[in-house]
């Protein structure tokens, strides 16, 4: 059964230095408040996993929490580069960043394998690409035992911790999310521990067509964090703050501007429940 705790407690209990942590949410429901709390609690040497690192991993990388990044698309959607990510790769600032790079299809299948209790997943992908040629330990050709066709195997992802944001949970800790639900279910089921932040805890979850439900016993901690995915969005609660994504660009371009942002917006605040 999920324990319902504060966000600060959830992060303190679930996330340890050196952990592999997957914060998922495909454009929608990105767990910003939880990511900020990880920075605030000064976790170090994390291996961060995420299909689209987005601003949240740019912030964690710049803050020096990250040793390695496992990802498939590291840009600021519709705006351009993630400059803290680039500074880490191109100039090792604030420290070197190891990369394990995939395609979206590969990452999605790696989570599926992890959630399924399998060591790898099979797909048609990567053939002829530099990603395959880089010889990463997590992508290999595989021969179909039935047809002899050469396909591609990607190793399972089984994070120590998965962190996602959802619209609602009930008082028993059952979680409900809807709209674009990405790989959140797979990430939570693949992980050893999980934190779900929610817009609100309600007495009872109304059935909703198309929603994903994570039963309480699949989740470690539920924390209420209204606005917890801003500047991403929570369908039915608030819209994506596209202007913030644009405004992030000059902050992230400049190390001093980024340090000021960290001091005022993260370390200067108590747990903010996702407000900025």
């Amino acid at each position: 059964m999920a324990e319902i705790v504060s966000l600060a407690e959830a992060v303190a209990l679930a996330v340890r230095d050196g952990d592999t942590v997957a914060m998922e949410g495909f454009t929608h429901l990105i767990p910003f408040a939880a990511g900020h709390e990880v920075i605030r609690q000064r976790r170090r040497d994390l291996t961060l996993v995420r299909m689209t690192p987005d601003l949240i991993y740019d912030q964690l990388i710049g803050a020096g929490c990250v040793r390695k990044l496992v990802f498939s698309w590291g840009g600021n959607p519709g705006v351009g580069s993630l400059h803290r990510f680039r500074d880490a790769v191109e100039h090792s600032w604030p420290g070197p960043l190891e990369l394990e790079e995939h395609s979206h299809a590969g990452m999605a299948n790696r989570y599926v394998a992890g959630a399924s209790g399998l060591p790898f997943a099979v797909l048609r992908g990567y053939a002829g690409t530099g990603l395959m040629a880089e010889g990463m330990a997590s992508v290999r050709p595989i021969t179909c035992p039935f047809t002899g066709e050469i396909l591609t195997a990607v190793s399972a992802l089984n994070p120590d911790v998965a962190i996602v944001h959802a619209q609602r949970a009930d008082t028993s800790g059952n979680v409900q999310l809807w709209g674009i639900t990405g790989v959140q279910k797979e990430a939570v089921l693949a992980a050893e521990r999980s934190i779900v932040t929610v817009e609100e805890v309600v007495p009872h979850l109304d059935p909703r067509p198309g929603s994903v439900v994570l039963p309480s016993w699949t989740v470690s901690y539920v924390a209420e964090a209204a606005g917890g995915s801003r500047p991403s969005y929570a369908l039915g609660y608030y819209e994506r703050d596209n202007d913030y994504y644009v405004a992030w660009d000059p902050i992230a371009r400049d190390r001093d501007a980024f340090r000021r942002w960290l001091d005022t917006e993260i370390f200067g605040m108590a747990e903010t429940m996702g407000g900025r």
Partner: protein
């Protein structure tokens, strides 16, 4: 009616939109491809099915999404599926007619790089966002159309990194790799249209926008660009196309 003024970017987006036939299914990349696909749906292709990698199938946005996962896509879609499902059930089996992609670098065989430029992979001069859904879109859609501004920096003899395979090193590569789709059939730029030579699979110039010369295109291409014998001039944007495009652009800035 007088020909309205338009920019080369507007001509490119209109030209790309025209490449999408009504009623087909299109896997849409963000940026220039998304603008063109939405323009097509707003003009000559109202039954165009837009599919985004966020899992939105049949999205009908009335304004340009800034990202591939904007709420407007989910709210207007025929179906919203998970990310594993969009790649495994929908893209991988070859159900999608056209993959519509952008590029940071593209070479004469239509291979795309969105990963690193300069240096080597581990220590690049410029780190780009990476692949996203593009490698499998380029592999598995029945055909691919690339929309990219034409510059010496972007149009290179060989890409620094193969993020998504076009024709690899030429005829036979796609078959050898087991790629099921036909590969890139058009590169649409801000100067004109390139298509692969049927014999060599090297991209050649087949269309030019009004006022652009072969020499202009060659001056902005990093390989020895040939022009097809039947080089045509692309019609300028119509007033209806420009109105629709500018309507989108204005609403995106609100």
């Amino acid at each position: 009616m007088p020909v309205p003024d338009y920019s080369s970017d507007e001509m490119m987006t209109v030209s790309a939109a025209r490449a999408l036939r009504d009623g087909i299914t299109c896997f849409v990349g963000i940026g220039l491809p998304s603008a063109a696909a939405n323009l097509a749906r707003a003009t000559h292709a109202p039954r165009l099915v837009l599919i985004y990698e966020s899992g939105t199938i049949g999205a009908k946005p009335d304004r340009l999404p800034l990202s591939i996962g904007d709420g407007i896509l989910a709210e207007t879609a025929d179906a919203v599926v998970s990310v594993p499902e969009i790649f495994n059930y929908w893209l991988q089996p070859g159900r999608i007619d056209v993959g519509f992609l952008g590029a940071a670098q593209i070479d004469k065989f239509g291979n795309i790089n969105t990963t690193v430029i300069g240096g080597d992979y581990a220590a690049p001069k410029t780190r780009l966002p990476g692949s996203g859904g593009a490698p499998e879109i380029a592999a598995s859609c029945r055909e691919v159309i690339v929309v990219v501004r034409q510059t010496l920096r972007s149009f290179v003899e060989r890409v620094d990194f193969v993020t998504s395979v076009g024709y690899g090193s030429g005829p036979g590569t796609r078959q050898r790799l087991g790629l099921t789709g036909a590969g890139p059939l058009k590169i649409i730029t801000d100067l004109g249209v390139l298509e692969p030579d049927p014999a060599t699979q090297e991209f050649v110039l087949t269309g030019l926008y009004p006022g652009v010369s072969v020499e202009d295109a060659r001056a902005r291409t990093g390989w020895d660009l040939a022009a097809a014998a039947e080089l045509h001039t692309v019609d300028p944007p119509s007033a209806a196309e420009l109105t629709a495009l500018r309507g989108f652009t204005a609403s995106a800035k609100e």
